[in-house]
Point group: C2
Chain length 441, copies 2
Amino acid sequence: MAHTAPNESARNHAGKSSPRYELLTLGDELLLGLTANSHLTWIGSELGRRGVQLARNVTIDDKAEVIAAQFRESWGKADIIITTGGLGPTCDDNTREAVAQVLGQKLVFDPAIEQAIADRFAKFGRKMVPTANNRKQAFKFERGEVLPNANGTAPGLWVEQDGRVLVMLPGPPNELRPMFTEQVLPRLAARGLLTTGEAYVQIRTAGVGESLLETRFQPIFDRYPDLGIAYCAHLGQVDCRISSPDGRYEMDVLQNVAQECATLLGEDFVCFGHANMVKVVADRLREQGRTLAVAEACTGGLLANSFTDTCGASKFFQGGVVSYSNESKMLFLDCPECLLSQHGAVSPECAVAMASGVAEQLGADYGLSITGFAGPTGGAGENPVGTIYIGLHAPGGDWTKKLTYPGPRCAVKERAVTAAIDWLRREVVKESQKAAAPLAN
Amino acid sequence: MAHTAPNESARNHAGKSSPRYELLTLGDELLLGLTANSHLTWIGSELGRRGVQLARNVTIDDKAEVIAAQFRESWGKADIIITTGGLGPTCDDNTREAVAQVLGQKLVFDPAIEQAIADRFAKFGRKMVPTANNRKQAFKFERGEVLPNANGTAPGLWVEQDGRVLVMLPGPPNELRPMFTEQVLPRLAARGLLTTGEAYVQIRTAGVGESLLETRFQPIFDRYPDLGIAYCAHLGQVDCRISSPDGRYEMDVLQNVAQECATLLGEDFVCFGHANMVKVVADRLREQGRTLAVAEACTGGLLANSFTDTCGASKFFQGGVVSYSNESKMLFLDCPECLLSQHGAVSPECAVAMASGVAEQLGADYGLSITGFAGPTGGAGENPVGTIYIGLHAPGGDWTKKLTYPGPRCAVKERAVTAAIDWLRREVVKESQKAAAPLAN
């Protein structure tokens, strides 16, 4: 697309400049911090998987003149502009009008859209009142297409003009996401504006820092000098993305390289792709027909909640106890009173007792426990705020480990839970490997 | 600030144009959707409380030429630019250099910054290696100030130039937030760029839709025609913000109006300000010296976690049970087997048994329970996916209620937890009122 200024575009393997994507997210609620900008996170990630990195995301309020000014500036720079929000029936939705003005297009009433909205109302036993606001949603650009909305009233809009693409999406995530996946991505792929499949192979790792990971992988990558390598660290995990920027390596080469990295890493390798650690543990437990129970003090339910966010958790997750008091540790987890009084509730002994206690009570194969001081108060001496003990009861034995995390209460909870799940993952994977190769033991 | 174009600025009560704030958030990880843009949410909300709405948030990657181009454009429009990220020691942190070039300033080495970094390393028992990367963090603008970083290495930077303010903040939230609250907000307030106190009175409500709330409040607001009124709905709650855009009403008038609204609402009123519902429940329970225990099935730990995110939760929270199986309901919660086999685990009877069971087991005054089908599977007939029963055991009796939520698993969990906490809030507040006015009963 010739209008892209050279200093604003990347180059892809064919030597053509890569198309420049901009995302415009509209809404006062974003600027006031009332709602997180989940559209950036979700669309950015969906595009990233298909080889595209957003060049820019601009968030503005939904006043018509503000939208017009920003859209004019972005339309002069970008190849593809995606807008979110501002298409609904409420009175501050001026987006269509402001954009039409910049495009030099007319808005035209589309009876088919109005009918689709009326049908949707009827489906829920309501009658559409033909107010100005409801009718407003039935306007489209005179030279553009309509993206039907299966989950709401306002449809999306698609315009190709001046060698550029404009995609306008409704704000509610449950309307936007299926529309983007089912309608927008295939259209963009058909026009060669992104890859049709995954653009890279991702290796998820845990327990190794970014720079150490780089050092460990380097001898492998040295043999493939034209690979694209990117590292991303988040929440105690590091992902490594392997791609072929100049198209020299086929996907199966990338997969072989990734497999070599995984083998080298051993148990620090979590999975390929985008699954989370809980998913890895859940899949292995279901494979093995094993079950899990958890007991947690300072993480207060976050550990149990991490497992129960997974669909089908009831297949392996037996339950959990949030034991905030010594009484509950004795009652539910059979922690001996003498152990609690001798060692205290924040101790390796208590962590092991909690893990084995909850497993025994619920008849689970694995028990995982967390006890500690999440802060901001509690803790002193050997066990200051941020001290965490994790307990693991597994078919092969019982263990405990101590960790220390600085930071605010919620961050300590989150890191403790990630560390506990990672430890369980390592044990569960080892069990799977034993089962797969019984003679090797 | 005279350079602000009229069509890009709001007007405040003195007839002066309000200063235009822009936020530049830097980082590939934001554009790739690896990390949520929490800086927008947090800074947007902190500024909103002080009467400022961000005019724009722009997210770009941290390549030097991209930063320079965007910063140049924003510096031509905004009165205050806040940047986040790109100040750390890693090699893609080119932010300082790119910005210095646009400002026409030199970067100068500041031995005091280097010393502060070395001191911080020493505090954690490490020695600072004077690499180029570590040294880079010790450079500041020749005409600018340093914002010391109490929680990390790279300090923030403050520049006043051309009648504008530039604030550069480090990316990690635990470094950025205290720096913004303790150093940046007071400086901005001292220059008249935001209000020193809260700019509005906020009324938090629950259980009333936005349009009904508007109808109920209107007779009150009709008596104060110059009030600024804004409604914001989120997660089943609606907030109403009352301000005085032309400065006609003093804060105590706003507070009186808000009090009148609260009285009118009765138990649908949650609190003034920004506290969450859990905080309201926690404060009342601590006041009353009462305790709470929870039992949950389909919400899987999220209910317990909501309470234990609050500092000092152990003062009132006795613990919780995540009972994913009938066995765990019998074992931990004393749910009778005949009840489970007659009515099933997703039933009003089971919800009540769970709530009273967990309260009795842990000796708590209140028991709160949730059972249901969060989806995507399970549920049929009278109790389809999305069916939730909440149970409440309180000093005054035991109750249950049924709710139905559409949507994906995590959304159902979240809405069920919010509804349960809201119900408990209403009971706990009633108990407080009884205690305060015993003769009126």
